[in-house]
C-alpha cells in the first residue's frame, strides 16, 4: 500500500506546531499502524529529519500508553481498538491519513504526537483507591463478593487510562475515565466504606482540569475497551447522594 500522511509536528509545549506531509510507501497490510510509523521514522532518520515522536509501550492494547487521533477519530476507525492494535488492512491503498495528538487543554503537547496526561493520575491520587495498608487484610474468602458485582466492577476496571474518552469529547470531559475508575471500587463491598468521600474527591479533582459532560456519548464510542457510559450515571448518583449525606452530616456537626 502507498499512503500519504499528514502528521502534526511540534518541537515542545512552548513552540507552535504544524502539519507536515510524508509519504509512506510499500506498507504491508499486516503491519500495525505504529509499525507503519516506525518505518516512516526509519526513513526520516535516513534522510536526516528527526523521527516523529509518539508514545507506545505494550503494543497489545493493555497499557494505555499509545493514542493518536487518526482522521479525526481517537485510536482510528476501528471500534474497541487501541492505536497499537489497529492494522493497516483497515485502510486502502492511496489513502491520505491525518495523524494528530489528543486535543484537550488539560493535555499539553510535549512533542509531536505525545501529550501530558498527568491530570488522570491526579484524579486517582484524590481517591481512586481503597485505603488498606499492606498486611492488614483478612482471608480473601471471608468476604464473599456477588459474582454480578465482581463482573460489573471488572467491566469498569478494564479501563486502560489512554484518554481517548477525553479526546473524543467536544467538551474535553473526563467523566468516562473518572466514572470507570470510581465505580470499579464503589461497586464492590470493599469499596463501600469510602464510597461517598471517593465520589466527591474524584469528581472535584476532575473538574479542576476537564470540561463538563453534556451526554454526547462520544467517549463510549471512542473507548478501546467499550466501557459503558452507564458508569457515568452511577458516578453522578454517588456524587449527588454524597452531597446530601455530607450536607446532613455538616448540619448535624454544626448543631453540636
Amino acid at each position: 500500500m502507498d499512503l500519504t500522511l499528514k502528521v502534526w509536528r511540534q518541537a515542545s509545549s512552548e513552540t507552535e506546531g504544524e502539519f507536515k506531509t510524508y509519504p509512506a510507501s510499500n506498507v504491508s497490510p499486516d503491519a500495525s499502524f505504529l509499525e507503519m510509523l516506525d518505518e516512516v521514522n526509519e526513513h526520516l532518520n535516513e534522510i536526516g529529519e528527526e523521527p516523529i515522536a509518539f508514545d507506545s509501550d505494550c503494543r497489545e492494547g493493555i497499557c494505555g500508553t499509545c493514542g493518536l487521533m487518526i482522521n479525526g477519530y481517537p485510536h482510528g476507525p476501528q471500534d474497541g481498538t487501541a492505536t497499537c492494535q489497529l492494522h493497516m488492512r483497515k485502510f486502502n491503498d492511496g489513502d491520505s491519513i491525518t495523524i494528530e495528538p489528543w486535543r484537550a487543554t488539560a493535555f499539553p503537547v510535549l512533542r509531536d504526537l505525545i501529550v501530558d496526561r498527568s491530570p488522570f493520575d491526579e484524579i486517582i491520587q484524590a481517591g481512586g483507591y481503597i485505603s488498606v495498608n499492606t498486611g492488614a487484610a483478612q482471608d480473601a474468602n471471608n468476604l464473599p463478593v456477588p459474582k454480578e458485582a465482581a463482573d460489573a466492577s471488572m467491566d469498569a476496571a478494564a479501563c486502560i487510562g489512554c484518554a481517548a474518552c477525553v479526546a473524543a469529547c467536544p467538551n474535553s470531559a473526563a467523566n468516562l475515565f473518572t466514572a470507570a475508575k470510581m465505580q470499579q471500587l464503589n461497586l464492590l463491598p470493599q469499596g463501600n466504606p469510602e464510597r461517598y468521600s471517593r465520589a466527591v474527591a474524584m469528581v472535584e479533582t476532575m473538574e479542576q482540569y476537564f470540561g463538563s459532560c453534556t451526554n454526547h456519548g462520544e467517549c463510549e464510542k471512542a473507548c478501546p475497551k467499550n466501557i459503558s457510559i452507564d458508569f457515568i450515571g452511577m458516578m453522578n448518583r454517588d456524587y449527588v447522594k454524597a452531597q446530601f449525606k455530607f450536607t446532613a452530616r455538616d448540619a448535624q456537626n454544626k448543631g453540636k
Binding site: 518541537a11 515542545s12 504491508s28 503491519a31 500495525s32 516506525d38 518505518e39 521514522n41 526509519e42 532518520n45 535516513e46 536526516g48 529529519e49 523521527p51 515522536a53 508514545d55 509501550d57 505494550c58 503494543r59 497489545e60 492494547g61 493493555i62 497499557c63 494505555g64 500508553t65 476501528q78 492494535q85 488492512r89 510535549l110 512533542r111 505525545i114 501530558d116 496526561r117 493520575d121 486517582i124 491520587q125 481512586g128 483507591y129 481503597i130 488498606v132 499492606t134 498486611g135 487484610a137 482471608d139 480473601a140 474468602n141 464473599p144 463478593v145 456477588p146 459474582k147 465482581a150 466492577s153 471488572m154 476496571a157 478494564a158 487510562g161 470499579q184 471500587l185 470493599q190 469499596g191
Partner: protein, 649 residues
C-alpha cells in the same frame, strides 16, 4: 573464548544469608532476627525505588505506608503502565480453596521442580508462604478477581501444576494487580511520604565507599540530568527479553538500570536463563516490532496439534482427527497440553524443525478450541478467554472461534538477573533488586502465574521486612549530598555518553542494530544453544558493537524529548549484556529449564542436567570494559526436594 572460573567456588562475596532451621520456620525466624527500625525513626530514612511495575509500585507503596521517605522513578508517563500490566493469565497461591491437595509445600515443590533445580530452596519456600497473603491483600484493595456464584474466588489450572491454584481477573490479571499496586502507590503520593517522578529514566547508580548512595536520572521531556541520594536504592526494573528485539515485552522494557548497576559492582546471575513462551502469535513479516503473547491459560482448553503429513496444505478444519498429531498429548500423557513452558516451547520448535509447521510461513502450530467449544459451548469459552480471542483476531484477521489459533514460542521472561541474597540485596550494599530484575526464585524455568506472585511477594511482603536490617545501621546519618564528587562524576558520565551517541553521526538507526542483535540472539542463544553457535554469536556481537559505536545515527539534541537517544543507551547496554548471556550459556555445559544445550540432551530430546558439576548459580562480576566478567559460584543444595529428572510424562 575462555571463561574465567573463580578459584573459590562459593566465593565469600556470595553469602546468600540463608537462615538456619527447618525450612518452614526460616522466614518467620528471619523476620524476628533482623534489626528493626522503629516507627518514629522510619521518616529519617530516604529510599529510592526505580520502576513502577508490580514489584516497584508495591514496594514503594509499602515503604510509604511504613513511614519511609520514598522517591520512585518510572520512564513511563504514569505509574500505571509497567509491563506487568500485560500479564494475562493469573497469579498462583497455595490457598487450597479447591480441596485438590494443594499446600504451601506443594507450591514450593512444584516451583523448585519447575525451575529444574536451579533455584534457591529457601527463597522459593518463602515465595510459596507469602503467596496466600498476596491474595488477601489484593482482594482487600478491590482487585476484581473472578468469582463463583456463591461469591467466593474462582481458580483455574496452569502449566506445570496438577492442582487449580491460579487466581485470575478475566484475561487481565496483571492489569488488575498492577492497578491495585498503582492505586496503593498513588494513595501514598497523596498522603505525602512518596514522591513520584514520571518520564524519568535512571541512567547511573552512585556508589561511594562500596555502598549504593543514590542514582542519576534523565528527565525524558526536558533532557535534564539530576542526581538523587538516599540511604538505599531498590531496582525494580524488570527483565531483559528485549535483548532479542522481537519479544513479548513492551517496547520500552530495557536492561539499562540493572546493567549500570552491574558495571558498578552488582553481580549478574544466570544471564542465560531466559524463558521462551510457547503460546505467542507467530511473526508475519520482517517489519514486525514485537510479538504478542496469548495467555498460557488457553492451554487449559485449547489442544495443540500439527498435521501428521508435513505437506498437508488443507485448511485446519478440513483435516480429520486421525490425520492430526496432538503431539503434547502423545508425548506427555500425564500433563498433556499443560506441560511447563520450556517443554512446550521445545516441542513446538522440534515440529517446526521437522518442517511440520503450519501457516503461510510454516512458523507455527495450531492451538485448537473446537473440541472445547463443542463440550462447553461458545459462551463459556467467551467468558474465559473472550478478550484474548479478540486480541488474536485483531492481529491476524482470523476468528479463533472458527479457525484454530496459530502459535509459536517467543522470548517472554528472564529468570536471570542481578544476584541477590535472602534479603534481596545485591552484592553492592544498599542496592536491592526485586521482581524480574533479580534472579532469585524461578531457577532455570518459571512456571506460569508465578511472575505476578514473585513481583508482589518481593514488593509487598519481603523487602519491607528485610531492608530495615541494612538501614538500622545508618540511623541518624544523612544521605550523601548530591554535590558530592561521586554524584558529580556519575552525572558527568551520563552526559558524556549522551554526547557520544549524538557525535557518532553515522548512517544507521538504533533499531537497525537492535534488530540485528535480536536475530543473533534468537538464533544462537534462544530455544537451543550449541558451543559452536555461541562462540560465533560472541564474535558477531563484538563486531556489531564496534559497528554500533562507529556507524550509529542519532538525530536531535540531548536537551529535549528524544526517543532515538533514549533507545541508543538501551541498545548499547543490550549489546554488552548479550555477550554475557552467550558466555554464561557457553560456560553452562548442561541443559536445564530454558537453557537447552544441544550437546546435552537425553535420547528423546529432553534437557539433561548435570547436578554433579552445575548445581550452582553463576554470578558474574564486572571487571572493566576490556576484560571479560569473572565467574563466581553460589552452590545450590537441595534438602527438601531431591533433584530428579523432570518428567511430565
Amino acid at each position: 573464548m575462555t571463561t574465567q572460573h573463580s578459584p573459590n567456588p562459593g566465593s565469600p562475596a556470595l553469602d546468600p544469608k540463608i537462615p538456619p532451621g527447618p525450612i518452614q520456620d526460616r522466614w518467620d525466624d528471619h523476620k524476628f532476627s533482623v534489626k528493626l527500625v522503629n516507627p518514629a525513626n522510619k521518616r529519617k530514612y530516604d529510599i529510592i525505588v526505580i520502576g513502577t511495575g508490580l514489584a516497584g509500585a508495591s514496594a514503594a507503596a509499602s515503604f510509604g505506608e511504613l513511614g519511609y521517605n520514598v522517591k520512585v522513578f518510572t520512564h513511563n508517563d504514569s505509574a500505571r503502565r509497567g509491563h506487568s500490566i500485560a500479564a494475562q493469565g493469573g497469579i498462583n497461591a497455595a490457598k487450597n480453596y479447591r480441596n485438590d491437595g494443594d499446600s504451601i509445600y506443594r507450591l514450593f515443590y512444584d516451583t523448585v521442580k519447575g525451575g529444574d533445580f536451579r533455584s534457591r530452596e529457601t527463597n522459593v519456600y518463602r515465595l510459596a508462604q507469602v503467596s496466600n497473603e498476596i491474595i488477601d491483600q489484593t482482594v482487600a484493595q478491590g482487585v476484581p478477581y473472578a468469582r463463583e456464584y456463591g461469591g467466593l474466588l474462582d481458580n483455574r489450572s496452569f502449566g506445570g501444576a496438577q492442582v487449580s491454584r491460579t487466581f485470575y481477573a478475566r484475561g487481565q490479571t496483571g492489569q488488575q494487580l498492577l492497578l491495585g499496586a498503582y492505586q496503593a502507590l498513588m494513595r501514598q503520593v497523596e498522603i505525602g511520604p512518596v514522591e513520584l517522578y514520571t518520564r524519568s529514566e535512571m541512567l547511573e547508580v552512585a556508589v561511594k565507599d562500596g555502598r549504593a548512595v543514590g542514582v542519576v536520572v534523565r528527565d525524558l521531556v526536558t533532557g535534564e540530568i539530576t542526581a538523587h541520594s538516599a540511604h538505599a536504592v531498590v531496582l525494580a526494573t524488570g527483565g531483559y527479553s528485549n535483548v532479542y528485539f522481537l519479544s513479548t515485552n513492551a517496547m520500552n522494557c530495557n536492561a539499562t538500570a540493572v546493567w549500570r548497576a552491574h558495571r558498578k559492582g552488582a553481580y549478574f546471575a544466570n544471564p542465560c536463563f531466559t524463558q521462551i513462551h510457547p503460546t505467542c502469535i507467530p511473526a508475519s513479516d520482517e517489519h514486525q516490532s514485537k510479538l504478542t503473547l496469548m495467555s498460557e491459560s488457553l492451554r487449559n482448553d485449547g489442544r495443540i496439534w500439527v498435521p501428521v503429513d508435513p505437506d498437508d496444505r488443507r485448511a485446519p478444519n478440513d483435516i480429520p482427527e486421525d490425520e492430526r498429531d496432538y503431539y503434547l498429548e502423545r508425548q506427555y500423557p500425564a500433563f498433556g497440553n499443560l506441560v511447563p513452558r520450556d517443554v512446550a516451547s521445545r516441542a513446538a520448535m522440534r515440529m517446526i524443525e521437522q518442517n511440520r509447521g503450519i501457516g503461510p510461513l510454516k512458523n507455527g502450530v495450531y492451538l485448537d478450541f473446537g473440541e472445547a467449544i463443542g463440550r462447553l459451548g461458545r459462551a463459556k469459552i467467551e467468558e474465559r478467554y473472550g478478550n484474548l480471542f479478540e486480541m488474536y483476531e485483531r492481529i491476524t484477521d482470523e476468528d479463533p472461534y472458527e479457525v484454530p489459533m496459530r502459535i509459536y514460542p517467543a522470548p517472554h521472561y528472564t529468570m536471570g538477573g542481578l544476584w541477590v541474597d535472602y534479603n534481596l540485596m545485591t552484592t553492592v550494599p544498599g542496592l536491592y533488586a526485586i521482581g524480574e530484575a533479580n534472579f532469585s526464585d524461578h531457577g532455570a524455568n518459571r512456571l506460569g502465574a508465578s511472575a505476578l506472585m514473585q513481583g508482589l511477594a518481593d514488593g509487598y511482603f519481603v523487602i519491607p521486612n528485610t531492608i530495615n536490617d541494612y538501614l538500622s545501621d545508618y540511623l541518624n546519618t544523612k544521605p550523601v549530598p548530591t554535590d558530592d564528587e561521586v554524584f558529580m562524576q556519575a552525572v558527568a558520565q551520563v552526559r558524556e555518553r549522551e554526547q557520544q551517541f549524538l557525535d557518532i553521526n553515522g548512517t544507521r538507526s538504533v533499531d537497525y542494530f537492535h534488530r540485528r542483535l535480536g536475530h543473533l540472539m534468537i538464533d544462537y542463544c534462544g530455544l537451543a544453544r550449541s558451543r559452536e553457535g555461541l562462540e560465533k554469536a560472541i564474535a558477531e556481537i563484538q563486531a556489531l558493537k564496534e559497528e554500533f559505536w562507529r556507524d550509529l545515527k542519532v538525530l536531535g539534541t540531548n536537551d529535549s524529548l528524544n526517543q532515538s537517544l533514549e533507545r541508543a543507551g538501551r541498545v548499547a547496554d543490550f549489546l554488552e549484556l548479550a555477550e554475557l548471556m552467550c558466555r554464561d550459556a557457553l560456560d553452562r555445559e548442561e541443559s536445564c529449564g530454558g537453557h537447552f544445550r544441544v550437546e546435552h540432551q537425553t535420547e528423546d530430546g529432553e534437557a539433561k542436567r548435570d547436578d554433579e558439576d552445575y548445581a550452582f548459580v553463576s554470578a558474574w562480576e564486572w571487571v572493566d570494559s576490556a576484560t571479560p566478567q569473572a565467574l563466581h559460584k553460589e552452590p545450590l543444595t537441595f534438602e527438601y526436594v531431591p533433584p530428579s529428572q523432570r518428567s511430565y510424562k
